[in-house]
Symmetry: C2
Subunit: 398 residues, 2 copies
């Protein structure tokens, strides 16, 4: 009889968004006439910019004739796209070697699969609340997780504790779900801690494009020394509306060299390269052509227009909470607004309350961890019209 | 200090195709004037059919306006594509529940990632020679592998041995690299063995579209009872020329239910679903639109035209070996021709010999396992012109 991976039995029953979808489907079935507005899942709604559409069509056209047809590409991504990503970083004064960049089908795959290259006996430090993939992908390997508290008291931006040892540290800034953004000095504290403790930071920068204050770091590599202690994940899902188009990238600097138990020097870049060449066959050429268009002047301008739109939505959400005196976080350099559930409600109770009385779907903070159990996440990813309508309903209800 | 996954240190130094590329690059550098013909890697060369190109363009166009824009899709793939795959199977008299089908970015990802849902204490049975991903993905988890010999004596089609216990069995038919195809009775022997031993067969059907004899099984599910003991991987890479476009699918029947060590019933379909929803965000909508076009009458006719072209190439390769009296396998229901290296050469020696004297690149059998060390693989995936030229050179050389 095959032995299953029994670590899966330790996972919580259902994935957050499946449970939300289930409750919404149930409500809609019972109330077919009610207009439900979804500001829950962090999914974009604006179409792709023209320059990107053009790049994608060109990718498709290349597949139509033998002279330009593309078969297997490099598992790490085409040079043209790796260079485009490196130029994007250079535009923010961060120098990245294109050969340290691995193109993928999205940050969810990479943040999930990165567990492959590490042993199971590491001390894993994960903030609470947090994007569930970091937690679940480690439970799936049977790893013990140490949580660090992100609370209103530390502005949901936990800092290193000298008394806590960690080998692998997950950080996400601008944060999902809280929208909180680490300052340069705060990230530097993490890099200093990692260098001192020989830890590796797994830094999720998926929301970096929402940062408009140039003093806030958009990448962990804005901090000197980070290439010796950090892997960075990023994605075009939020930068360019690629949630359904699928493209991301992960940076594994060749400076990341550690020792195996028998003293051999091992490069994490080489391990990840081996992982990807064995279990991945590269991102579609067509999609990579569209992704490259994101990094052109025209493509980026179109992306920034969409991001401004989403940020204006976030501002509309924040304004209602400010007016009502509800404590909230994020919403400025982030599409996410994270707020305290009114009246001391727990987050699933508030989810049902909001769905039943305002027909607005948000994300209960409990889905992101213990510290989220009295918080709730709304996103600026809806349409302007729906965002305004949802917030008018909430304004009336609360 | 982070503990790396030290199982990676047990992998053979380099991935087969990287080594080939390295040797070819070296040769080309030394001999820039020589025309090298590559019949090595199993990569297609024919452009995508018009119907597929049209489907892809439609997918891109949907992303261009808010009304048709697609964000996150179901991680398991869109219903339209899952149903299209089910209909394709139905066309070969095999009934598959669409909800047992998981759409992915290719069979390499799925055959690599499937290790996630099983424990590390299984007895893994893998044929030798074999597609290296099965071996490497298991070494990466520290699993012990039991090999079964595929040799000229059993026509490279090993059958179950009652005296060998196995929990997980990898089979690939039509086979990569040997081109050998299991008959119905042979596959039935495997299914019977698996049912009796409560083993799971991991069946790779990536080359099923090359079967033209309707009595040969194109799927493990052609055998009754297989849904209780087999997972099937398939891909559009070879069926539809998607090696650079990227789409595949994996079938995990809900009948696959086993017991955990504490006696709980666990569905492999549920485990794989959890794996995919946690570590994968679905295949690009654009690519799924193209994939759906493959399964239309027009799309499939265009794919079959390309497959006939490749099979004619394989016939041209076989004819030379037949004429020369070189023992070969495959090439009939497969793009692969697997032959004994002439003059008792080992396969890497023959690789260099062929590269240096005929400027033809093939794949050394040693890259697929011990039993391949005196064999060599050529593929029908080249252009007609190159295939003819390569075989004329080989005809002269040998």
């Amino acid at each position: 009889m095959p032995k299953i991976n029994e670590n899966y039995l330790n996972l919580k029953e259902s994935y957050l968004f499946s449970e939300i979808n289930h409750r919404v489907a149930e409500y809609t079935k019972q109330n077919p006439d009610k207009k439900v507005i979804r500001l829950g899942i962090g999914d974009v709604t604006r179409p792709l910019g023209d320059a990107i559409i053009k790049g994608l069509h060109e990718g498709v056209d290349a597949m139509a004739s033998a002279g330009t047809f593309k078969g297997y590409g490099p598992e790490q991504g085409y040079e043209f796209l790796r260079s485009a990503v490196a130029s994007y970083y250079a535009g923010h004064n961060i120098s990245i070697d294109p050969s340290d960049i691995f193109i993928s089908d999205g940050a969810k795959s990479d943040t999930g699969n990165i567990t492959d290259i590490f042993g199971n006996d590491n001390v894993i430090l994960i903030p609470d609340p947090v994007y569930p993939v970091y937690v679940d992908s480690n439970i799936m390997c049977g790893r013990k997780i140490t949580y660090m508290s992100a609370t209103a008291e530390n502005d949901f931006l936990p800092l290193p504790d000298k008394n806590v040892h960690a080998d692998l540290i997950y950080l996400c800034s601008p944060n999902n779900p809280t929208g909180a953004v680490y300052s340069y000095d705060q990230l530097k504290a993490w890099v200093d801690y990692a260098l001192e403790n020989e830890a590796v930071i797994l830094f999720d920068a998926a929301y970096e494009a929402f940062i408009s204050d140039s003093t806030l770091p958009r990448s962990i590599y804005a901090v000197e020394g980070a290439k010796k202690c950090a892997i960075e994940f990023c994605s075009l899902s939020k930068t360019a509306g690629f949630t359904g188009t699928r493209c991301g990238y992960t940076i594994v600097p060749k400076e990341l060299v550690f020792k195996s138990s028998d003293g051999r020097e091992v490069s994490l870049n080489a391990l990840w390269n081996r992982r990807q060449t064995t279990k991945f066959n590269g991102t579609s050429y067509i999609i990579q052509k569209g992704a490259a268009a994101v990094f052109t002047e025209e493509g980026m301008a179109q992306c920034m227009e969409n991001i401004s739109y989403y940020k204006e939505n976030a501002r509309i959400i924040c304004d209602v909470f400010a007016k009502k005196g509800i404590r909230y976080f994020g919403g400025e350099h982030s599409p996410y607004v994270w707020f305290e559930c009114p009246g001391g409600m727990d987050s699933w109770t508030f989810f049902d309350y909001l769905l039943n009385n305002a027909q607005v779907v948000g994300t209960p903070g409990a889905g992101f961890g213990e510290n989220g159990k009295n918080y709730f996440r709304l996103t600026g990813f809806g349409t302007r019209e729906n965002t305004i309508e949802a917030m008018e309903r909430i304004d009336k209800l609360i």
